[in-house]
Every structure is written in structure tokens, then in C-alpha cells.
Amino acid sequence: MCGICGCGQTNTTAKLKPVLGQRQHLLKHDHSHNDNHSERLVKVEQDLLSKNNAYAAQNRTYFQQHHIFTLNLVSSPGAGKTTLLVETIKVLKDRFPIAVIEGDQQTERDADRIRATGVPALQINTGRACHLDAHGTGHAVMELGVKDYSLLAIENVGNLVCPSSFDLGEAHKVVVLSVTEGDDKPIKYPDMFHAADLMIINKTDLLPYVDFDEARCIQYARQVNPDIQIIQLSATKGDNFSAWTDWLVENLSPQ
């Protein structure tokens, strides 16, 4: 059985099978007994994500108890999440412990890129799933052995749709948008920008080559989420990168 969440315990499907078997048996003999198993209404009033939310709450408590500052990084594929993390680690790894969880459908490539910086990283391959969930994240945290007072960065699967509804227990969702993707992404994928606390506009070094109106992008983002914070930077060229590392240090300290 699993120490964190008890997930290895006899699961509900297993418990349910005998019940279903019995039902099948009941169905076989004729319905001579009067229909005492008649239909009734059962109130549920439960969120579709209630299970994930319960695991996320567990993770959040764990992070608080261990003073782990957790970010959930989301973006479309290739916006620059891993590059951003690698560059961030280079700047900050001597200030406090950093650990990374990498979510991708396949391969260890991103975790390898992080490990090359000397920081522990664990790859979760989600397979057919297009997002990380709180249960898998909790296991990854245990396996990785994240130190107290760490920055824990979780790089979600590149996808602007599904990860928005799956809380992992993070302190903040950070959405990365690169200027090559178009300035209207915030209203095309409003759920993600609504759920995020910070938007990073990345690859600003490419602004001269693309039609990307920063002011319009910011306006769209604020329309979807009036409270969203915004930082424009170039992860590869380093322009305005300190705005991001300052944001991290500032938000990490009150922990």
C-alpha cells in the first residue's frame, strides 16, 4: 500500500466486482420477487475533479509543512518551459535547493536537460494522458525526496487546454507564452490564462521578426484574468530575466 495516499489498497473496482456478480445473478432468475430494488434518487453534488482535488490538497499541506514553494508551469509545446527552468537553475541554485518534476507524454529528454544542471529531476511520462494529476505528482515528490525550503518546479505537459483544471497542489500556475504563438492565445485558451497567477511572455528576442503585439496580448490576458501578473523576457538571451528571478525570490521568502 502507498504511504502517502493509500492508493495501493484494495481499490473500489475490485470491491465492486462481487456486487456486480450478484446483480447479474439476480437478473438471471425471473423477476418473481416484487420489484423491491426499484429506482431511487441519490444526491451526489460532487465535483468531477473531487478526487484530484483531494490529492492536491494533500500535496499542498505537505508543501506547506516542508516550506516547499511549488510552481506548475504550463504552456503550449515548445514555448520554452525547460529552457526557462535550466536558465533559472543556473542563476538560483546556490541560493536555495531546487527540484524539478518533468511531465511529458514520452521520453526522459527534459529531465536529462535539468539533471545536466546538477539539480534533481524526475520525469513522469503521462502516456496517453495530456496533463499531470495530483496523485502522480504526490508520488513523484516522494520519490524525488524534495528538500525542505526548496523551490519545486513542475513542468506540465505542453498543452494549453487540459492542465488548467488539474490542481497539483502548487502555490501558483505559471503560464508561458512565446511570441511566435500569436498575441491572441489568452482568449483562444481562456481557461489556462484564467487559472494562472503569472504569465511569462517568452522569446522577446524574436519580437522584431514576428507580428506579436505585446500590449494587445496583455490586454487579452487581463480580460480573461484581471489579476494576472505579467513578465516579458527572453530565456535564451537573458533579457529582463531578473524580473522573473526576483519574482521567484520574493514569492519564495514569505514561506
Binding site: 473500489t12 473496482t13 470491491k15 465492486l16 456486487v19 456486480l20 450478484q22 446483480r23 430494488h37 426499484s38 429506482e39 431511487r40 434518487l41 441519490v42 444526491k43 451526489v44 453534488e45 460532487q46 465535483d47 468531477l48 475533479l49 473531487s50 478526487k51 484530484n52 496517453r128 494522458a129 495530456c130 496533463h131 494529476d133 487546454v161 487540459c162 488548467s164 483544471s165 489568452p186 482568449i187 481562456p190 481557461d191 484564467h194 490586454q219 487579452y220 487581463r222 480580460q223 480573461v224 484574468n225 484581471p226
Partner: protein, 113 residues
Amino acid sequence: MHELSLLENVRGILEDHALKQNFRRVTKVTLEIGKLSCVEPEALRFGFDVVMKDSLAENAELIIAELAGLGVCRQCQQQIEMETLYDPCGYCGSSLVTVIQGSEMRIKDLIVI
């Protein structure tokens, strides 16, 4: 894909309730889906039969009740109906609108045997 994993959650919740509330079969499932949530009712309908196959809710009827999107304008405090997360206030035009309803994705109730 996202809708399928949501439906797997629905099945899990039904199984939990079957044990707790002592029923064997579900004949009808009513979901409440907010207009501003990120699920597509059509995709839920499409995946429902597939995900419920061989479960206690095989062949159950699916009802999706849509909840309207509602927001409150931070500038003029009026309540407005929202079609999207980025609708501006219909009274003053401000885009500073706080969503108060419409993000829900809930299982409301079931008809069970």
C-alpha cells in the same frame, strides 16, 4: 482526452457511492456543467457510453444541465451573464469582471437501483 479522464472520475465517484449508499446499478446520471468550465458537453456525451461500458452505469442515461456563466463587474458592481471568460461588463464596458458562476463541473444526482 481530457473529457475521457473526467469521465473516468465520474465512474470512480459512482463506484464509491455504490458502496457507501448501497446500490448496484445506475440508470441515470445528471451532471451540472458550467458554461465557463473547460469541458465540452458534446465530448462528454460522446465518451460517456464508452467509459461506462462494463461498469455499474453501463447503458445509463446521461443528462447534462448547463449552468450559465455569471460575473460581477469590479467597476460598477453589476451582475452580468457571461458567455466566455473574457466578456466585458455589458453596463460599463470594463473588462475587470470576476466570475461567480459557470466554472462548475459536478455530478448532481443519480437514479439508481
